[in-house]
Symmetry: C2
Subunit: 384 residues, 2 copies
């Protein structure tokens, strides 16, 4: 039987039927009054989702494009920046910063471990001449399922006073509390195929007044990713270049759904599915890559011991048509990743756990007692 595939990866994430249907509407002109109304509604709801009064702009790019825009608009070649790197995406922001001629100071942690805020504090406190212009942090590291301690690192950035804090929130926005105004986050980048519950093709950047001040003197060349153009157009309920009209239709509906659910409930749902997933993995003798205190609510990375991770992924895909993500770079074959980001319910997570249990039994995975995973997850869900 050709059934409906189940997508449990950290992006693209599952898309609600009403969003898919909205995207299938015939496009209208992006310069029309009717479309201006769509942009106005989306902009207001994006600010709500970002918990900010800052500008939030939408670009036709992937998450990487949004983060590149979030970096290159605020610096000049030679500017010193600190970049946290404890996974694939932190590594990428370092590469982008170097590609555009920044003086990059990488603060590393092992993949699967969180960044150490004290290393940031030390570098920032040493910098009495205020040469550090920016600190770039991946909030939820998608490659490992680690949620970095952004709040603490940001406190040290605020104590420094000069540096901008630039956040990759690609898999944290909409999955965990990220109070941009309360924390004073200058630049926050994200992508549509994650907590937004719509397909890939849109990137978002929020920009604080302090960041706009830096923008004025920043000299890295830019045009398509020039955020000033996006702000100017967004202020008039417009866009500088043709926006992806049908994805915007989908975004309009997805944001309405998120508002109806409410931020607190969205965050609680993500916490619950994360906790249930982690409890089930432990009960099934499957080690977790990230420690509990730094667990991303978007994705859980699992390191099976006696059976190859790709074997588990292949079997659960073949038998149950459930897509899990593999490991990236040196973690390829060593981990599989379960996405529980965006449009994922308690029922979905139980389904994956059941199917995974069956897969482990079939593959003869040592120490996986049938029923133990579901039992552990049920405990978590029952206590909520």
């Amino acid at each position: 039987m050709e059934g409906q595939p189940m997508l449990m990866i950290p992006g693209p994430t599952p898309v609600p039927e009403q969003v898919l249907r909205a995207m299938a509407k015939p496009p209208i002109g992006h310069r029309s009054g009717d479309f201006s109304k769509v942009i106005a509604e989306i902009t207001a709801n994006l600010k709500w989702l970002h918990q900010t009064q800052n500008d939030v702009v939408a670009l036709t790019v992937s998450g990487t494009g949004a983060m590149e825009a979030g970096i290159i608009n605020f610096f000049s070649p030679g500017d010193r920046v600190l970049v946290g790197d404890n996974g694939k995406f932190g590594e990428r922001w370092g590469l982008i910063s170097k590609a555009f001629g920044l003086n990059v100071d990488i603060i590393k942690a092992e993949w699967g471990k969180p960044l150490n805020p004290e290393e940031f504090r030390a570098k920032l406190e040493q910098d009495t001449e205020k040469q550090i212009k920016g600190v770039i942090i991946t909030h939820s590291e998608t490659s490992t399922g680690v949620l970095n301690d952004l709040e603490t690192i940001n406190k040290y950035v605020k104590a420094h006073g000069e540096a901008l804090i630039i956040v990759d929130a690609v898999t944290s926005l909409g999955a965990v509390n990220l109070p941009i105004d309360e924390w004073g986050l200058d630049v926050v980048g994200s992508g549509s195929q994650k907590g937004y519950m719509i397909p890939p093709g849109l990137g978002f950047v929020s920009i604080s007044p302090k960041a706009w001040k830096a923008y004025e003197t920043a000299t890295i060349p830019k045009f398509y990713l020039d955020l000033g153009k996006y702000k100017k157009a967004t202020d008039k309920d417009s866009s500088p270049f043709t926006p992806p009209v049908n994805l915007m239709y989908g975004l309009q509906v997805a944001l309405q759904m998120m508002k109806a659910e409410g931020l607190d409930k969205i965050f609680a749902r993500h916490q619950l599915t994360t906790k249930a997933t982690r409890a089930a993995m432990k009960a099934l003798n499957l080690p977790l890559l990230a420690p509990d205190e730094y667990a991303s609510t978007a994705v859980t990375a699992v390191m099976p011991t006696t059976v190859d991770a790709e074997k588990i992924r292949g079997t659960i895909k073949k038998q149950f048509d459930i897509s899990l993500a593999g490991g990236q770079d040196h973690l390829k074959g060593k981990i599989f990743r379960i996405g529980h980001l965006g449009f994922v319910s308690e029922r979905d997570i139980l389904t994956v756990i059941c199917a995974l249990e069956t897969t482990l039994v079939e593959l003869g995975y040592e120490g996986a007692t049938p029923g133990a995973g579901v039992a552990a997850a049920s405990q978590v869900l029952a206590q909520s």
Copy 2:
């Protein structure tokens, strides 16, 4: 009655129902084997559409992003380029070239007039030291409906030998013959919401071996728009960053439709609707901005004399729910533009002409005899 709006602007263009339905499929993982097959099919069909053996890559950007990639990947700051500017988009490629530090020589023509190939010849022949590294030409200037004589300009570029020819084919690709390999076009950029018959959100760039050679030594900084990354991934039926999965579903179907129709028939259809539109406008005493010999097959710009262009646009929208495009910049209010690009049939064009006639009569436009436009268009269609 709330009916179905009719979109007759030069982008976004109308999208076939089967494409809209394909876009409403739930997304799958972009790193899955199933999606690799989609990329492989799309890449092969893009090469067919581009009439080329060169690399053709797809980026998550608007047309401007594709053109920016087509420029910045092949030059270093200070490189001399010639940019043709006879409208909004030629002007934009000049701005981009300047933003990235190129030494830009603008060759201008009045909006509504074609670029003069002899001016390019003169500059290229004078350049005996081969300082000119690129010539950037807008093939179909969307803002005015002028089709520039790319074939002749390209001959002069080929005679020069050193310069790359870089083409904005955003509204010409799929609307008029553009034989990339036959003419030896180095870089050709385009966007999805045009001849491709899908919504905005994807940009395309074709790259010749000569352009790749220039890429190797080009130093303008880039990352998200680094075409080398796209080539490397496309060669493996993959993408460097998350692609817009649902738009790719739509593109897959649209390219299948185009192949079924065939390039010759697609071009003939565009020529016919263009000819019918122009004949009707003349019969209705509506002057055309672009001369017949340089008429874009994507869009016709019309300059009404006794009634304001915006009044005509507003009335036909209100009474018949037909969207026409207005003028840009100094042509705002002076022209309206009829799109006949992509998924537009003879029936569609007749519909617009009928509705426009009725609108003109209602507004008391001088010299517009009811029936004259349709009669003229019918003559053209009957002779085909």
